[in-house]
Symmetry: C2
Subunit: 446 residues, 2 copies
């Protein structure tokens, strides 16, 4: 019998646990679902091969024992908490799987993991995860067929399914709200386009968007991720003319979001004393004093919002920015206040369905012809629990966990899912669950 | 005989050294001018009571000996270098004077300085320095006369004298160019206006300016300093409705400067590989790729610069931003590249005269009437060496040094020049050197 320890039973784990739980009998697995919220862990147990377990990750002794008792750990903790788990995995010689970005600390443990014959597989959720699997498969196919990659663009977005995008922003929160508020902060956005390096400061990121059309789902807009060049070597694209990775929203979102950027409402670096402060006062903090002019007219003038720019204005009004409603926090950064408001307004209703969209565009040349290949994948959520986000994060994680337990992978140390022995079987199995990339190719010049 | 050690003989020390040197015989002083550039130090010596001294501040033994041999140290070093000097002053029980902002490290030494009967006087240049002296004197006069301060605004600018402001920006560098490029970075700008806290993000600081008119010198525009609230308690203005401190430029400067902010050209956080890069390429780094559109049209469209906005456009063209001239650096941050360009273009010519402008506005009420008092001071440079900057920085420093040697001040520890025994005599003596505040007062409501 093999033992699996899943640490963290939050809302993105539904499909992961369902997938592994359904295989447990056949595979002779025992699955422990550990969380500090034991009730949540219990609610995920659905057969006799599974058990819930109370785990406070800050209790090292408790965590140590749990890891000692397992064969593999799937860590669904916030990214910065993986390392203490990884160190215990080294201590007890256990494999590890995460959906988080590979950190420098994780890389530092790679050598010891190799020496102990362990695999620490990271970035095997959706973004990062499925983006790597699907893009590298396509890039390798083209290269193996004699093509030379010229341009690569890739966008992913966690959105709301058509019909449920019933607010002016056509957006609801399906993932960590803090990351949504702080998106594109922390340094200049950089990428390469037609051989030219390009740099976008924070105040312009949400104005330099690209429109993408996905058949059957309409138009999306994409804004650039912070460092598109990060995976250049990983993907073997050192000499590519264009490398651009970004995030998808529905058109109009970014222009409206930029109002918050220009106001300074997404700033997380200082604390406002917001006791008794209303959302209207909050917005007025960022506007010049005037004895009689309204917050509305000052905002319009400051951000140059035309009187007839109804689409943008409706978004701001709908959020309740101008309402004299108390925020209900004592001290918070501007970003935390905005997050609180968005969590109320952009909340998924119980019957809402979410949507995960991924899109890659590859331009390549072969035999003096230029081709454009586009890959798109749209995954719709089933309900509040079985979301598209949980499915596209959890299934790659679950499939990789199965393969590691089956001993399929030969790599050791801290690794990314970029080799064919990892991406081929996972992509093939994902298609059985409806996660399929639609491919289109055309000659664009000869 | 008393001994004075001046550390640093750069261009802002001309008046300081002239003032102290002229008094040396009468006062029985001996002045040592120490610098790592011994030639520069020698050039400042003009009588037998002065000597030049080679001093490398990183050579602790050398510095230790120099400080041991003196009675008072005037440190003209960059702000972060004062602390090692201050610690040696403690060791050898010497007084210290600087024109820099009081740092937390300096405050931490205050107790020991007090115990050793020493005074470490900071912020006694122009800004900080003369701004404190003149503002606090006026505020105290009003309060002593029964007035209640409602609003306080203060602006200072190091500029070019009328007639010498012969470029489209009406600006040349008279002070640390790096500080000019990085102005308003490093955190949100905050102040209080009519009882309301106001916050301005970096992308808007140079668009939220105020126009100030100074008789005989025309109009200026002021942008907000980073933390106007810093001196609220120091000035006794805890309950004031408005507290706003800023920097002066000539009108039109800030709107044009904001182009650099919006582009991201003032970013000092990442390195560009700029070997063989021209200034035109540099600007194009920040603009979207297009196969045929010019850098000029892309910039206009991106920053919404109208075709007939001649004043702004002329400023950008005059700087040579669109020229295919090589930058001549190998690796540099965007801010460093911009600084290099500005140092070439905004350079004072040998015959240019600079100008230092300071302006305070105080609104107060007394006996149910409201008054507005404005104080303005304009100091013009004499030539390239005896600049207004050097005069307004150096004379307060020199006068304070004299008073400390004379034993006039009773305070001990790390202190600011905010008490009447410090500001009264210095302001009175400064008027003999033409540094005079013009005061105007009017009733604005009854």
């Amino acid at each position: 019998m093999k033992r699996i320890l899943i640490i963290g039973a939050g809302r993105s784990t539904s499909h992961l646990i369902q997938y592994l739980g359904n295989l447990a009998k056949e595979k002779n697995w025992h699955i422990t679902i550990a969380d500090i919220n034991i009730e949540m862990a219990r609610s995920k147990v659905f057969n006799d091969y599974m058990q819930a377990f109370f785990l406070d990750i800050s209790d090292i002794k408790n965590t140590d024992e749990a890891i000692q008792d397992t064969d593999i750990v799937v860590s669904m903790l916030p990214a910065h908490m993986h390392i203490s788990v990884a160190k215990l995995c080294l201590k007890h010689r256990k494999n590890l799987v995460t959906a988080s970005y590979m950190s420098d600390e994780m890389i530092a443990l790679s050598k010891e993991a190799q020496n102990k014959n362990l695999i620490f597989l990271n970035e095997i959720g959706v973004d990062p995860g499925l983006d790597h699997l699907s893009a590298i498969k396509a890039l390798n196919e083209i290269r193996n067929d004699g093509g030379e990659i010229l341009d690569y663009e890739s966008f992913t977005g966690g959105l709301v399914a058509p019909g449920y995008d019933n607010n002016p922003w056509k957006y609801k929160l399906t993932w960590n709200p803090r990351n949504v508020v702080l998106a594109a902060q922390g340094g200049v956005v950089q990428f390469i386009q037609e051989g030219q390096y390009k740099f976008i400061p924070y105040n312009k990121v949400f104005r330099r968007t690209e429109i993408i059309d996905i058949e059957g789902y309409g138009k999306f807009e994409g804004y650039a991720n912070r460092d598109s060049l990060k995976y250049r070597e990983t993907y073997g694209l050192e000499n590519v003319r264009t490398m651009y990775r970004g995030t998808l929203r529905r058109p109009g979102f970014c222009r409206a979001w930029n109002c918050f950027v220009e106001l300074g409402a997404t700033d997380d670096s200082y604390i406002l004393d917001c006791e008794n402060m209303t959302y209207r006062d909050y917005i007025n903090n960022f506007l010049a004093y005037h004895p009689t002019d309204s917050v509305e007219i000052k905002l319009r003038q400051y951000l140059k919002i035309d009187q007839d720019d109804v689409d943008l204005w409706e978004k701001l009004v709908w959020l309740g920015l101008f309402e004299n409603k108390e925020i209900g926090l004592r001290k918070a950064t501007p970003a935390q206040i905005l997050q609180k408001l968005l969590e109320e307004k952009w909340c998924l209703s119980p019957n809402d369905k979410d949507m995960l969209v991924m899109w890659h565009k590859i331009i390549y040349q072969k035999n003096n012809k230029k081709y454009k290949r586009e890959l798109s994948m749209v995954c719709l959520g089933e309900n509040e629990t079985y979301t598209a986000m949980s499915k596209t994060v959890g299934l790659p994680l679950g499939l990789a966990t199965k393969h590691i337990l089956d001993g399929t992978y030969s790599q050791r140390g801290a690794v990314l899912p970029i080799s064919a022995d990892i991406y081929e079987p996972i992509l093939s199995e994902l298609s059985e669950y409806g996660i399929v990339f639609n491919e289109e190719e055309q000659i664009i010049s000869t």
